[in-house]
């Protein structure tokens, strides 16, 4: 399934040049919202109910010991409610806290909620899940417990996606990296804006590990060209490309999460991808246009 409602222009959003003043005035940016507001915006009005809210003070038990400021929700919002009347849980990562990194508590909130949603489905309650992914991946101050939690998030997505669609939304501006990019790759459907980036390794990590010639973490056009929302949509690695507009995002997510399951999850498409990759000679570097061409050419029979 591939949908793009009013594809955004390819220029940087700061320009926003081609849009009329009226449409700008009537839009509400999702990128500018925090995790809790994003979750509320996706759920039907009045249906939002937060689980383990900040007043419960479920903070990271590991950050304080390292002199790092904690947050009362550990940067993850678990919200139950309905989307177009259907039962749903929205798991929203706050990119503004520790880069949206996954620690023990935040990771357990996401994994645990997905596990309960799968249990609901086994009992006949069709609870859907939406993941709002603004995350650099594992929180390095909780390294192995972050990694373990992410493995459990993967397990729970694969379990749940057998029953109902699991939809990932990368709105921006942190993007989705590390082990959580693998979680994104496990979702039934992915929705992105032009502000989104999706990749395994964050630019600074690649530059550190492989050198600036391999990856220049300060070259924004290069990075957006390879890993930005528009490119990921053009190469089929995400399913929907939307404007940074709350109502458009909400409608797109609702249609996907309440719609049919994909014929087969993208993560099962090993035959497709291995056959495409067989046509690429890695002794030659590949650019954004090259990837579009490689992944869009018809299957060799």
């Amino acid at each position: 399934m591939s949908i793009a409602t009013q594809p955004a222009p390819a220029t940087h959003p700061a320009a926003a040049n081609s849009r009329s003043l009226e449409s700008l005035a009537s839009r509400q940016s999702i990128v500018e919202l925090g995790a809790r507001e994003r979750a509320a915006a996706l759920l039907d009005p009045g249906s939002f109910r937060e689980l383990i809210d900040p007043f419960e003070r479920e903070r990271s038990p590991w950050l304080a010991a390292q002199g790092v400021v904690t947050q009362a929700d550990d940067g993850v919002v678990v919200a139950k409610g309905t989307i177009d009347g259907q039962p749903a849980v929205v798991l929203a990562i706050e990119g503004a806290f520790q880069g949206g990194s996954m620690g023990e508590v935040g990771g357990a909130k996401i994994a645990g909620a997905l596990e309960l949603a799968a249990e609901d489905n086994r009992k006949g309650i069709p609870t859907r899940a939406v993941l709002l992914l603004e995350t650099g991946g594992v929180r390095l101050q909780e390294a192995n417990l972050g990694l373990a939690a992410i493995a459990e998030i993967h397990a729970a997505i694969v379990d749940l996606r057998r029953y109902v669609p699991v939809v990932g939304l990368i709105a921006g501006s942190v993007g989705c990296f590390g082990g959580m990019s693998i979680a994104a790759g496990l979702c039934s459907y992915l929705v992105v804006t032009r502000e989104a980036r999706l990749g395994l390794n964050g630019p600074a990590v690649i530059e550190q590990e492989a050198g600036i010639d391999e990856y220049d973490s300060r070259d924004r056009p290069f990075i957006w060209g390879l890993t930005g929302g528009e490119q990921r949509f053009a190469t089929g690695l995400v399913d929907a490309y939307v404007e940074d507009d709350v109502e458009q995002v909400r409608q797109t997510v609702a249609a996907l999460v309440n719609g049919p399951l994909p014929t087969s999850p993208k993560s099962d498409a090993w035959q497709h991808y291995l056959s495409k990759l067989a046509a690429y000679n890695p002794s030659v570097a590949i650019d954004a246009a090259g990837v579009r061409q490689l992944y869009s050419t018809p299957e060799a029979s």
Binding site: L51, L145, L198, L200, N201, A210, P265
Partner: protein, 282 residues
């Protein structure tokens, strides 16, 4: 035309025989030197070999100094490896439909995911999701999945190859390490010095790199002592085989197919408490 070599030439004259990695050594030892199956990249050893009175599929990622992808020459897990692992697992799921699902044993010695421009451009995250998803689906389909950590189990590579197993087993050896990121990169990202990082790792168990600290997190099912993790002798092999069989029996006796058995440790109390609260408030 395939740009990636897909045949295994492991004869003595083969060009650039990979320096015997732990992944290759333990694969050979546990499969009785089985010839790896055809149709996989040089970096992925796959074989169905006798195990516990029946057969298991063994899967191991190994280095190839001549790998066509420059950033995948030291045993990293790249786009080809992720999708090829998915292939090796999905083939077994398909073949065993309607039969007893055979065990899958992931031999884990993975330096890291590939850090490269080509890999990001081609969607390395999706390839590793292919691998992780395949193991998770195999587990849900009733295949007992066991991961045996014999070397490094790093970050995205471990998430793709091993972390979805029903049971995790590690050799008790200094060369066996689990972590989210190499020390120098982790220091840069957290704006600390490598020395600070090492000092913190000594007191904060999840930050440590060594397997004994990892064992306190409750994620491992067993830690196995061997006399030589690099060149296992007959006794080492027998010891590991016994633990693998015990793990198989433990999985078969467990009616659940999830990862809940990892939640019991003192050092993971918050993971269990958060789940209990969610359930109460659900």
């Amino acid at each position: 035309m395939s740009a990636t070599p897909i045949s295994h030439d492991r004869s003595p004259g083969a060009a650039q025989e990979p320096a015997s990695s732990r992944g290759a050594i333990w694969f050979d030892a546990l499969t009785g030197n089985a010839t790896p199956a055809q149709g996989y990249p040089t970096t992925l050893l796959v074989a169905d070999a006798p195990f516990a009175g029946s057969e298991a599929r063994f899967i191991s990622v190994v280095p190839d100094a001549n790998h066509a992808y420059p950033r995948v020459r030291k045993g990293e897990t790249g786009v080809i490896e992720g999708w090829a692992i998915a292939q090796a697992v999905h083939e077994v799921i398909a073949a065993d439909q309607g039969k007893t699902p055979r065990p899958i044993i992931a031999i884990v010695d993975v330096a890291s995911q590939a850090y490269g421009r080509r890999e990001e451009a081609l969607g390395l995250h999706q390839s590793l999701a292919g691998a992780a998803g395949a193991y998770a689906e195999a587990r849900l389909a009733g295949h007992p999945v066991i991961a045996l950590l014999v070397g490094k189990a790093m970050s995205g590579a471990f998430l793709a190859h091993g972390y979805q197993a029903n049971r995790l087993i590690a050799l008790d050896d200094v060369g066996v390490q689990v972590h989210a990121m190499g020390k120098s990169a982790a220091a840069r990202i957290t704006m600390r010095s490598v020395e600070d990082l090492e000092r913190l790792a000594a007191t904060v168990p999840p930050m440590a790199y060594d397997i004994s600290a990892y064992a306190t997190l409750g994620l491992l099912w067993r830690l196995v002592e061997v006399s030589n993790a690099q060149q296992p002798g007959t006794a080492d092999l027998a010891q590991v085989d016994t633990v693998l069989r015990d793990a198989l029996a433990d999985i078969q006796a467990d009616p659940t197919r999830g990862l809940a058995s990892r939640l019991g440790a003192e050092n993971r109390q918050a993971s269990a408490r958060v789940r209990a609260k969610l359930r109460a408030q659900w």
